[in-house]
């Protein structure tokens, strides 16, 4: 029997069962309540669009249905900065950092992982449509049972000894990437009662400018949990949400081996390139 952890040992004592007691933002709200909150925010967004407000492309930082965001979002507007030298460049990664085999998540152990083998492939582009070549992509994900190899994930689903769920790649000359992995499953979390995340793969991306740095999540087409998920729905614009959903692509599917999904990622615009173009004109 677990005892209530004190604040001094909260990090070591936390398990899935008691995690909600440690996060003051976790709630016992029902799915219906959370869905109502989401619907109200989306309604408000639609009305603002009609009134002429710009389309939103990014998630709201202040999004009450995602309870953990309550005390972790800035309340002041982001402050505009004109990027200076260091902000116009990004760290360099390459062969020294990433081995070619790190893009195959199914060969990291002695045996074959359990689950549906998939290929996820696409391109990384910037907001001008330029390929982001030679840059680092990192992914991580749950296994086919919806379990992460992470000590804080204690929900009762099996760990697969043949699947860690971490991959890396360096993009090719046209910004292309390809990962071989196992399709992750949905999993429960503590945001509200009976809360489940849609299946997703986390992606971490770099551009040519560090201001393009982003971390996001890729989802699978047709997931019935989309409408219920406050993290996915924190993106108020439906077209923007679609940009996180991969497409089933039979040309990426291989005979008797793996099904294929295509997902292209667009980073924000480079500020270096257009400044250079402008300088070249003078």
């Amino acid at each position: 029997m677990r005892t209530e952890p004190t604040s001094s040992d909260r990090s070591t004592a936390e398990t899935f069962q008691n995690a909600h007691t440690l996060d003051p933002a976790a709630s016992t709200a029902s799915q219906e309540q959370v869905s109502d909150e989401i619907a109200q925010i989306h309604d408000d967004y639609r009305q603002r669009l009609v009134a002429g407000q710009d389309t939103e492309t990014q998630p709201r930082l202040d999004f009450t249905p995602y309870r953990s965001s309550l005390l972790r979002h800035p309340t002041k507007d982001l402050h505009h900065a004109d990027p200076e030298t260091i902000e116009l460049f990004a760290p360099a990664f390459g062969q020294r950092d990433v081995h070619a085999l790190e893009s195959d998540l199914t060969i990291q152990h002695n045996g074959e992982p359990i689950g549906e083998r998939i290929v996820v492939a696409g391109r990384v582009l910037d907001g001008d449509g330029r390929p982001v070549a030679g840059q680092l992509i990192e992914i991580w994900q749950a296994n086919a049972a919806g379990r992460y190899v992470h000590k804080r994930d204690q929900h009762p689903a099996p760990i697969d000894p043949n699947f860690t769920g971490v991959g890396r790649a360096i993009t090719g000359p046209n910004g292309e990437y390809s990962f071989t992995t196992i399709k992750p499953a949905p999993y429960p979390w503590k945001n509200h009662h009976n809360a489940w995340r849609p299946a997703h793969i986390h992606f971490s991306l770099f551009g040519t400018d560090f201001t393009q740095r982003m971390i996001t999540q890729m989802y699978f087409p047709g997931d019935p949990l989309f409408a219920l998920d406050p993290i996915f729905q924190s993106i108020t614009d439906p077209q923007a949400r679609e940009r996180l959903i991969a497409t089933y692509d039979h040309s990426l599917t291989s005979h008797e081996w793996a099904t294929g999904y295509n997902w292209d990622i667009v980073l924000t615009g480079s500020n270096r390139t257009w400044m250079e173009d402008e300088e070249a004109e003078h």
């Binding site: 990014q58 998630p59 965001s69 900065a81 950092d97 680092l136 949400r241 615009g269």
Partner: protein
């Protein structure tokens, strides 16, 4: 200042890093941009707080900076550090008390007269998209006074971007995601 050209493609939305990045993103010596034995080694440290002043134990921080001469570096080897190659980039998770540590060098000004700063990116569970800010070095007060970004901020907000130099030479920079001491977070042109 010229008008920023419009984007051709709509950017993909970000999402929270979530709670389970700990086995995926941190890497060995991720916070050691230089070895502690490097003659110019400087500790950069601080704590990440939420809107009630509680420490955040599940945030991930990245820094990106010029070297001590103000040169922007384009060298591989950040993820597999050899202990000698300065790559300008580092990544650390905060510890259970919300504290982080980098070992780096003081960046030089990237242009003469510019106030040197380190770029900082913050990811956390509960934070739906990454946040950017700048960690300015406190010494060059003339350059700080002339800095366009700092000049555009009221005094109390300006201070949230300037690190404190401690007696042992370390830089201290706390991050407040919310509240009276809320750090100034930045947006850049051409984000949408």
């Amino acid at each position: 200042m010229a008008q920023h050209p419009a984007l051709k493609l709509a950017p993909t939305p970000g999402q929270t890093v979530g709670p389970f990045y700990g086995y995926a993103l941190p890497f060995e010596r991720g916070g050691e941009l230089v070895n502690q034995a490097h003659p110019a080694a400087v500790r950069l440290h601080g704590t990440v707080y939420d809107g009630q002043g509680e420490v955040i134990p599940d945030a991930l921080l990245e820094i990106w900076q010029a070297d001590e001469h103000g040169q922007v570096i384009a060298r591989e080897g950040s993820l597999v550090r050899d202990g000698y190659t300065f790559t300008g980039w580092g990544r650390v998770p905060v510890d259970n008390a919300g504290q982080y540590n980098f070992t780096t060098v003081n960046p030089g000004p990237t242009e003469p007269g510019k106030a040197p700063f380190i770029m900082l990116t913050i990811f956390a569970r509960g934070l739906l998209n990454r946040l950017f800010t700048r960690i300015y070095l406190p010494e060059d007060t003339a350059a700080l006074a002339n800095d366009p970004l700092l000049a555009s901020l009221p005094e109390e907000r300006r201070q949230t971007l300037i690190a404190t130099r401690e007696d042992d030479g370390a830089l201290r920079f706390d991050v407040h995601l919310q509240g009276a001491l809320e750090t100034v977070f930045l947006s850049y042109p051409r984000a949408s």
